[in-house]
């Protein structure tokens, strides 16, 4: 009963923050509420026992998406973009009805479900021994449904190619993002000096531990990306120009290694088949490649297209 009260309180908070994020009058506060929303969700995931998702939500949902949105708001402010006029009342009422109708339908749909659940947990459990890893989520991500993950890593690459393709033609070949000028004795710079070694350690650890415990390439890669972003924002490290060969190789390394493993399997008789005895090293290899590419890609996604020409 106490448990339920906590659940309901947490859910009420999440809904409240979501409402504030969507309806908030000022854009910046909306973004802040969105980040808080992500953190609360992360708590919810922990509470539900989904620690991998909790990590991912905090790092990707709240963290990186938050940074991306904050940066966008400040950029729009500098461009002097104004808020458009609010929707007319009629539109708001009909939209609210539509949205409410959808929620209602979903509640009904949930109500008609079998209460005992019909998930795949037992099947995963039964096959975990052959997957090469002990964390069932990692087993699903990098073995049972590795194909999804392969495409997902490609999706990140697609987004990066897309973001770069939106560069100003004149800036092609320049460095991504705006140049940051942090004061050398400022807080950011201090953080920028202190945090990276720690972040690097944590990031690598999370990647490495992912095979057996919560964590993995995506969560770890995100933390590594955050480290790099911090360095860039503190003005301590410039991102390399987007035409640099090494940068581009880093970006395709993860999906590339993944694809190579998949292709090798296909030649040998099964697309993306990881033989049980080699599964663990193969997964670690893929994770290492992915973590590198994810870190680089995510950071570059947040930095955006080059804003200045090549030097």
């Amino acid at each position: 009963m106490i448990e339920s009260v906590f659940d309901i309180l947490l859910c009420a908070l999440i809904v409240g923050v979501a409402l504030a994020a969507v309806l908030g009058p000022r854009l910046f506060s909306s973004v802040v509420f969105f980040i808080v929303y992500g953190l609360f969700l992360s708590v919810a995931w922990t509470h539900l026992g989904a620690f991998d998702v909790a990590l991912a939500e905090a790092a990707i949902g709240a963290g990186l998406t938050g940074v991306l949105l904050v940066a966008a708001v400040s950029r729009l402010d500098r461009l002097g973009v104004k808020e458009p006029a609010p929707a007319p009342p009629v539109a708001r009422v009909t939209s609210a009805l539509a949205a409410g109708g959808l929620s209602g339908a979903l509640v009904l749909a949930l109500w008609s479900l079998d209460p005992d659940g019909t998930g795949l947990a037992p099947v995963v459990e039964a096959n975990l021994h052959a997957s090469g890893v002990r964390n069932p989520v990692t087993a699903v991500l990098l073995n049972f449904r590795a194909y999804d993950t392969l495409i997902e890593s490609v999706v990140l690459l697609v987004a990066l190619v897309g973001v770069w393709s939106i560069a100003d033609e004149r800036h092609w070949g320049g460095e991504p993002g705006l140049r940051q000028h942090a004061r050398p004795d400022g807080v950011l710079a201090t953080f920028g000096r202190l945090l990276p070694p720690l972040g690097l350690l944590v990031g690598v650890y999370i990647v490495w531990t992912g095979t057996d415990d919560p964590g993995g390439a995506f969560q770890g890669g995100t933390i590594l990306a955050a480290v790099w972003l911090l360095l860039a924002m503190a003005g301590l490290s410039d991102a390399p120009a987007i035409t640099r060969r090494r940068l581009r190789l880093a970006v395709i390394a993860g999906p590339g290694v993944f694809l190579a493993v998949a292709a090798a399997g296909a030649v040998g008789g099964g697309f993306l088949v990881l033989p049980t005895e080699y599964a663990k090293p193969l997964i670690q290899e893929i994770e290492a490649g992915l973590a590198l590419s994810i870190a680089a890609t995510l950071a570059l996604l947040v930095l955006g297209p080059p804003q200045r020409g090549p030097r």
């Binding site: 749909a109 795949l120 099947v123 697609v158 581009r248």
Partner: protein
């Protein structure tokens, strides 16, 4: 190894895309990549032809734990169509996007994006897993989004954002439906779900969400608003893939879902409703196409209209109709239409691209006098129009005939009337630019080599050929269908 050909149809374009991210591929390598994927697609088709439909369990894991790829007549046909259109698109893009000395933004970005679109389409057409389809469709959406915005004009960027809104919303609606199905049945595999008993509130809400989401991504009326600016604003080779191929992916998923997963779920009213939207798309898209002053817009609105035909498959072959003899005809008719429209529309956009390039502007008047200055391109546009109008001898005609037969056999005269009226309306918009090709004095000032003009002509001729040599593709499409049309029409 041959059995793995479909898988390599995804792997090889991905590898080509990765390589082109690092540095643009030299022409011979682009050609090699095209040839390899063409060959692999051919092997896939041959394999389906000989062995029938089959599944490839990815990673060796059987469903429900793993993901299965499904290779059957429909996916094979769409793979082949994709290969043909992409080959033409890449060849047509070489003059515009191959950088000579210095790397440029467009010259760099186009190649990985094009190969990624190819990979994404193949992935979507092969997938037998509902969540994997979600990832594949998102993959496709993001790659095409970047192509839409490639011109970087305010219109193109706005078109891309509008496209993003519809497409991302569509993906989420689809995903939501998938989540509900998983919650109820504990599997994402299409074959396993088809054995599950889909009924009740949960299944209906899920099916409605999946249909809405995919319809938004296919630009079914009234979700069509994003399509014309997006397709018209992209560079012509990109438009060709966007209009010819990309909407076919969500439509393909829709067919997979309705005909494989939930054939008995929809009520008559729902089927008629979707059919009505399709009919509205045909009429509305055609009327707007007639009113356009810009060539590529006209062609793009034609896509809105043509996609409407696809949705007539639901009233004609869905629900109870699935057990009827005419269902197979309607099903094949709609899929035939998808294939022939892909070839013809891509040809039309590539031809339009050459015309716009040669005339220096995008108004319909760019076609003036085309039969004198660029007869091959004029011919390509004309041949593609024949398919778009659904006139013989073209694949469009066979498709239309099959749909019509199904409409009459099932006593649904109204859809028959819509189908024939749609042909007349199509004539209304394609003959506007075509008439201008006969004007005296031409306005095309930039010379376009015959080599380039041959590309759209070949594609358009293929669309026509589909209407003459249609029995083999017809039989091929049936491969692996639960209820095949072995006896043909009637």
């Amino acid at each position: 190894m041959i059995a793995m050909a479909p898988v390599f149809c995804i792997i090889v374009p991905l590898a080509a895309a990765f390589a082109s991210v690092v540095r643009p591929l030299p022409r011979p390598l682009v050609g090699l990549a095209i040839l390899v994927v063409l060959g692999l697609t051919g092997m896939t088709v041959a394999e389906v032809w000989q062995q029938g439909a089959h599944r490839i369990p990815v990673g060796g894991w059987q469903a429900p734990l793993g993901i299965a790829l499904v290779v059957d007549g429909l996916s094979g046909a769409l793979l082949a169509t994709t290969a043909l259109v992409m080959t033409a698109v890449l060849l047509a893009a070489l003059p515009e996007f191959a950088d000579r000395d210095r790397e440029t933004r467009k010259g760099w970005a186009f190649w990985p994006l094009a190969f990624l679109v190819w990979a994404a389409l193949n992935a979507a057409f092969l997938s037998g897993d509902l969540f994997n389809i979600y990832v594949s469709l998102e993959f496709l959406t993001l790659a095409t989004l970047a192509l839409v915005s490639l011109e970087e004009t305010a219109e193109a960027l706005e078109a891309a954002m509008r496209y993003a809104l519809f497409a991302l919303f569509g993906s989420l609606a689809y995903l939501l439906g998938v989540v509900l199905l998983y919650a109820a049945h504990g599997t994402l595999d299409i074959a396993l779900l088809s054995q599950a008993d889909l009924q009740g509130t949960n299944s209906i809400v899920a099916a409605a969400l999946i249909t809405t989401g995919l319809a938004a991504k296919t630009a079914l009326f009234p979700f069509h608003a994003w399509l014309p600016p997006a397709h018209a604003g992209a560079p012509a080779p990109a438009s060709a893939m966007l209009s010819g191929l990309v909407p076919k992916a969500p439509f393909f998923v829709l067919i997979r879902f309705w005909f494989d997963v939930a054939p008995d779920l929809p009520g008559e009213a729902a089927l008629q409703f979707i059919g009505t939207l399709g009919a509205a798309a045909i009429v509305y898209g055609s009327v707007l196409a007639m009113r356009q002053t810009q060539l590529k817009r006209l062609v793009a609105y034609s896509t809105v209209a043509q996609l409407g035909y696809l949705f007539l498959i639901f009233p004609l072959a869905g629900g109870d109709g699935l057990s009827q003899v005419w269902s197979a005809g309607a099903w094949t008719g709609a899929t035939f239409h998808a294939v022939s429209h892909a070839l013809a529309k891509a040809a039309m956009f590539l031809a339009a691209g050459l015309v716009v390039h040669a005339a220096g502007h995008d108004r319909v008047s760019a076609m003036n006098g085309l039969t004198q200055s660029m007869p091959m391109t004029a011919f390509a546009f004309g041949l593609a129009s024949v398919t778009i109008m659904g006139l013989p001898p073209s694949g469009g005609f066979v498709a239309k005939y099959l749909l019509l037969t199904a409409a009459f056999s099932s006593g649904q005269f109204i859809w028959a009337a819509v189908i024939v009226a749609g042909g007349v309306l199509a004539a209304g918009y394609v003959f506007r630019p075509l008439s201008r090709t006969f004007f005296h004095g031409h306005v095309q000032t930039v010379a376009v080599p015959r080599r380039q003009q041959a590309v759209p002509l070949t594609l358009a001729a293929l669309a026509l050929l589909l209407g003459i040599v249609s029995s083999a593709p017809y039989a091929f499409l049936q491969t692996g269908r639960p209820i095949a049309a072995e006896e043909g029409l009637e």
